[in-house]
Symmetry: C2
Subunit: 647 residues, 2 copies
Amino acid sequence: MAEPLDVPALTATLDGTYVEVRNLTRKRLVEYAGVLDDARELDRAAFRERVKDVVVELAATGQTGLGFPPEHGGGGDIGASVAAFETMAFGDLSVLVKVGVQFGLFGGAILQLGTQRHHDAYLAPLVRAELLGCFAMTETGHGSNVQELGTVARYDLETREYVITTPDDAARKDYIGNAAAHARVAVVFAQLDVGGASQGVHAFVVPIRDDAGAPLAGVRITDDGRKIGLNGVDNGRIAFDGVRVPRENLLNRYADVSETGVYTSEIENPDRRFFTMLGTLVQGRVCVGGAGINASKVALAIAVKYALRRRQFGPPGEPEVLLLDYGLHQRRLLPRLARTYALHFAQEVLAGQLHAVFSATEEVDERTRRALESRAAGTKALGTWHASDTIQECREACGGAGYLSVNRFDALRADTDVFTTFEGDNHVLLQLVAKGLLTDYSSSFGELDQLGMVRFVAGLAVETVIERTAVHKLLERIKDVLPGSGDDSWDTDAGLLDPQYQLAMLRWREEHMLSGVARRLKRGMDGGMAPAEVFSRCQDHVIGAARAHVERLVLEAFVDKVASMAEGPNRDAMGLLCDLYALSVVETDRAWWIEHGRLSVQRSKAISREVSSLCRRVRPIAEDLVDAFGIPAELLRTEILAEDPLT
Amino acid sequence: MAEPLDVPALTATLDGTYVEVRNLTRKRLVEYAGVLDDARELDRAAFRERVKDVVVELAATGQTGLGFPPEHGGGGDIGASVAAFETMAFGDLSVLVKVGVQFGLFGGAILQLGTQRHHDAYLAPLVRAELLGCFAMTETGHGSNVQELGTVARYDLETREYVITTPDDAARKDYIGNAAAHARVAVVFAQLDVGGASQGVHAFVVPIRDDAGAPLAGVRITDDGRKIGLNGVDNGRIAFDGVRVPRENLLNRYADVSETGVYTSEIENPDRRFFTMLGTLVQGRVCVGGAGINASKVALAIAVKYALRRRQFGPPGEPEVLLLDYGLHQRRLLPRLARTYALHFAQEVLAGQLHAVFSATEEVDERTRRALESRAAGTKALGTWHASDTIQECREACGGAGYLSVNRFDALRADTDVFTTFEGDNHVLLQLVAKGLLTDYSSSFGELDQLGMVRFVAGLAVETVIERTAVHKLLERIKDVLPGSGDDSWDTDAGLLDPQYQLAMLRWREEHMLSGVARRLKRGMDGGMAPAEVFSRCQDHVIGAARAHVERLVLEAFVDKVASMAEGPNRDAMGLLCDLYALSVVETDRAWWIEHGRLSVQRSKAISREVSSLCRRVRPIAEDLVDAFGIPAELLRTEILAEDPLT
């Protein structure tokens, strides 16, 4: 690296289309930087109120309403709203999640599942945060399997009302953000019962508190109490004892019940209807993934800067060695830095697709929607696991200093911890990804549960399954770049830094893992095993295939980004990080490639050496690379960086 | 598993020699189970006082003084004190760590580094917790590299006092437990300066607060504030402005200064003296490792029981499937359960060795002491990483319920988080382990820093290094059990469940990794690289070799334990878990064995299949296996197990 990086230009590359909204958000975060201290020092009740006040104040600035239609006081720009949300992850995450609950989940449900009458009634006040609401989907006994929710909404023909009932404790709404203290209204997901026939899960607007904040008659609300993190958000439980709401409170974009009790829907198949409704809520997952990736940036910025100040051990009579000059410390931080950049660019592609689909003036075909949902699910899973892993490693890399709350890892780690299991448990989300790949988002995709997927796949020839996958079509020229046993380059380390080689490796793994899953499902079913048992036994392969798919998408996004940049030190640096990401992925899973005949032992060892070598090359630009994240200094005012007690 | 397990007998197997003291500790924990609620509900200041009160009350029962000499009010049983401490990890961990600070670190330093006059003056009151103290070693700028501490203790010939000074902010004592509020006295580690000559780090008893709790003149104490966890412990910073203490306050077991200012020590080499002093404090590491392992048991008990109650998805018209019937869920929890048992038995061996060395009536040779320290370091590293990993996985496996503090993962995870970096950073500890292996705990071991180790090893033939290792001697019959390429069993899955095969695999890896490190160090030095650079570049191999060593010791302990048990279902169950531990280790690192020609691709795949199969076989006895930990029900009274809202 002869020439220095142009850090502001790199920040601009990262900020992309939404540089303005990101900079405005940075400004807001600096104004509210004191919330980071409040999170440590206020008690739970006071901090909840503080966070609520911040959310209300932010709403007044327009910061939180960017994704809503202008006619209801919003900014009318989905992409901008995602960019603003992601950037808010540099600050306190209770504020972020409370914003997500109010505007993303509650507001999003009204917007996406409701019709004009709901928009007119609720959107403007909720965008202004005058009407606070919650999103009451999850129940104590039912999280991921939303279709089996226990709450019932029975249509009462006589009064033309829905009667909402919680039949047992397992069906109480649980972990609901905004429920314990602040929400006046809930969007409640319940089994719609019309004339004794169940029509599946639908969403209803249900008032839960009066203007003074007291629960309404028939609504029992309890507090979920202290949580690992996000204690500025008031999560709670809600149970309903025959609570009545007018017929108009059904969010009726996809189905309705007439006054006389006739159920109608444009979508005949109930499973497909259900998945279509859920699919409109995809923005939440996009936002959580992006938030996880940005929280990782904060942790890395602190840990990298600390490692460039803290010294430990060294030759006698000389200054001790900087932590980041240790090979192991580089290995702990720098591949995670590379993966953070990689995920950032993959998230950018995803957010762009979300914006395109939800801003489209013409009808978007179902396949495109399902593919978007799948990509959102996969990116959310990898982005949030990455956050947990990276923040934890950064904390440990800062030793005792990392354990002090003032140095930010406490809240970063605790607040993001639930990201891996809320807005869809990551494992369940990856199963969704695999289902999409294995069924090619076929028209029946929306109707298939896990066991249906098992039967569907087992009913096809493995070749048929694979030939329809997108990755299969990318693999035609594989022989040119991916050496196999017997090829000339099989035992050499030539071409490791060729993006085409790296892409071919990840594509080949994805295709091979998918066909492995298809084969296993088929074999299990052919052997007479019950579908549930077949699924259970190949579940880790299902997850593995989905992960391989997402890692391939992430690499493609990074490679494309590098290719799009102007030549110069910034592009060189991104190329270096892209190599480091790609080869780290291969190194981590190298046993698999060796086992499947696509990596020789010699080449595998060469990859490990190359990863170490890449780390040494990234080392001199590490601080520039974390500076380029553009995290305001006010948000990094940790003790370990602000003073200089280390030398 | 035709016959059911005998759970009480399995608990007795786990409790081992110290069943009585463990049961007594369980009883105490039940009496104080309310502290688990206090940890969630009290504010920081109140919880600190609560924890202090509990520690004082426990001291009155004799619970915390088991390791001290009877003549000073102790129980005179090192092994019992470790067993009691480990068992306390089932309860609140602030109480545990405060006990560790007061009796292990502070009391241990007085006991091990002091002489009769210190014992007479301090032991009885500190055992009764009338005198609260702290252990002031770590500084802001110096944690792991204790030899380079900045605090100075200058001997003033005129007044016959030591003058304790903190020269700069980097040298302030930091993260010191008991310092922020409760300690009256500190054991301060400082560079001893006698007549202008530095004699290296020594320990001094320094009063820091008056009876009313106010800092004494010249002592500046600040609070470390909120931490990720352990907020019942008052960690703080201490700086000294020329604080004077009498000559008698030097803890003078290994060195002394005469009234006339003559420095004397039985141990001439200053490095060896330093490491000898530090070595006497090994019990702290043994205790922390054991606590990590037992905290993992609590997490596993909750997660396994939850997975046997919570259902999700399944065939239409039937009850949903229990979480633990999913292959992936088994994969997430059961190998960790096996590893917990493995580490438990390894910890038992270690604690037994500690007891033997520290209870010996005759002088114990230095090599035995160094080997004990090495084993303690390695077991602490693996035991505490295991705790972080296991508790986190258990939290995620319980989804949203796992995120609620009432369900215990919050405090378990947050409180144990610092275990990986306190009492020795785990990476630094594994470097210590590797140093011992590579130098065969030679007489010069105690004198070698990292770079000295590099030079020492590089100066020997690789064969010489390896032939002196313990593992080399265990590998003589390797051909019989460890197939190599070309052998008949190379491509089959025969013998995977043979403990001799598993042991041979782990021994071979250890030896090969050690020789790889030796070769790399030699090559680097021969190539003219600076020792620091040589070390940096092969640091991950150093860590890898140490980890391989400890995993081998853990497997040996487990295999020995199984062999010692009477035939029957309990032994069968332990054999199953031992296989699962061993094959999980191989599976995780299978790329390495393949790369080094000791595992065929066919066999590698067979091992993955076998791990899944073993998980399915452990599944029916999983609840018995966590019940056998003997964690009192009062300590598992989490919401997710106490009620039944899931069905």
